[in-house]
Symmetry: C2
Subunit: 233 residues, 2 copies
């Protein structure tokens, strides 16, 4: 019996890419900028992941996800030759990560899983960002846990074990759910139970992650409603 289920958020619970492209297009229109906004969204995300990985390896001092997004965004805007933009506009654009849409199955699946389990986030997002996303998307979390509480990023094992301790649980009582193998593998190595969810359009239509051999995960599912069904079997 799984006591608590912890969910990755960006890519697993919410569709960052289509939301960010929409916001970038709007920003471009309003500021007279043109660019390949899909590619810009991908570069923004990739830049986040690079910097986050550096911090997780201890090569940079910890900063929040909002701060990482802003650092990467500033570099992207410089590349686009977009200088002298009003600070308020840039801050609003950076805040687009607070306004991401859930995947269509997310709220239904979470609501089903909430009946028999504690459901919470375990995300690299800072708490205020995760709370914004929950309010924006109606995500019915029982608790919002952030790697910021542990001063590092996934897949540092301290993140998974710290969350387990906060829940007064044993690693085997807690399941980590993500659409990213590095995250699910990190949880698995820390002794947690695992579910891998396919998000085949995360990086663009038909561009999901290939996790390799999925037999190492306890559950695989194609969305959160299917995950809820598998958990109740």
């Amino acid at each position: 019996m799984v006591k608590a289920i912890l969910f990755d958020v960006f890519g697993t619970t919410v569709d960052w890419r289509s939301s960010i492209i929409t916001e970038l297009e709007k920003f471009g229109d309003e500021n007279g900028l043109s660019a390949d906004w899909s590619a810009t969204a991908d570069r923004w995300r990739a830049g986040f992941r690079d910097l986050q990985a550096k911090i997780a390896r201890g090569e940079r001092v910890w900063i929040t996800m909002d701060q990482i997004h802003r650092e990467v965004l500033d570099a992207l805007l410089l590349d686009l030759g977009a200088t002298g933009l009003p600070e308020q506009e840039v801050a609003h654009l950076n805040n687009a990560w607070h306004r991401l849409r859930p995947w269509p199955d997310t709220v239904k699946g979470l609501t089903l899983m909430k009946r028999a389990h504690i459901i919470g986030t375990l995300s690299n997002g800072n708490l205020s960002l995760l709370v914004s996303l929950a309010k924006h998307g109606g995500l019915p979390w029982d608790c919002v846990l952030s790697t910021a509480m542990f001063g590092t990023y996934k897949p540092n094992p301290e993140v998974y074990l710290g969350a387990v301790r906060m829940l007064d649980a044993e690693p085997g009582d807690v399941m980590m759910v993500a659409a990213h193998a590095y995250d699910v593998d990190g949880a698995r190595e820390a002794g947690l139970r695992t579910a891998y969810v396919f998000r085949p359009d995360e990086f663009g239509p038909g561009k999901g992650e290939d996790p390799g051999d999925t037999s190492r995960f306890d559950i695989i599912a194609s969305n959160f409603v299917e995950l809820a069904e598998r958990l109740s079997e």
Copy 2:
């Protein structure tokens, strides 16, 4: 404009006393024990507060609220001459603090405040205890913050300022709500905005706290629905 509202839980959001008395009476019946269960409930709570205050002053190593409740309960049972009870029964009784009823106005008031504000706990309860109470009572928190995240107890200022930091806010953007002057005063001294809610029956019918001069609080209210109304004025 208050960005986030943080609530004390035990006594402010939930009615610990009537719930605990009911559980103690049931425990007594099932184990052939008789005692003044109302007085026992009060001693349990007072014992918790004494030990918590010791920890907040640094006179004892930090342990969770569940662990404090158990230490006090074991002493109370010894006083009642109740020895040799099955561990499962005693653990279930200690877990009564996970099954407390909200005050009648709590859920309605929180639901109203959630529309325009982030609402969260800032309680001495450990996270799993706070999550249990939320699921048991249908408390619609946006986030569940515990002093356990900071390794100390209220009114240590680090608790209030740590919560503010987690929310990426300034102290003046966050309001602390409690029915206990020591807690609201702690938040006030840390620079937070404050609301004092009267819970006139917390310690028994007609036995609420007297906070003294209430002009030092930003808002006073007689329940959570009135607090919601005051905040929307």
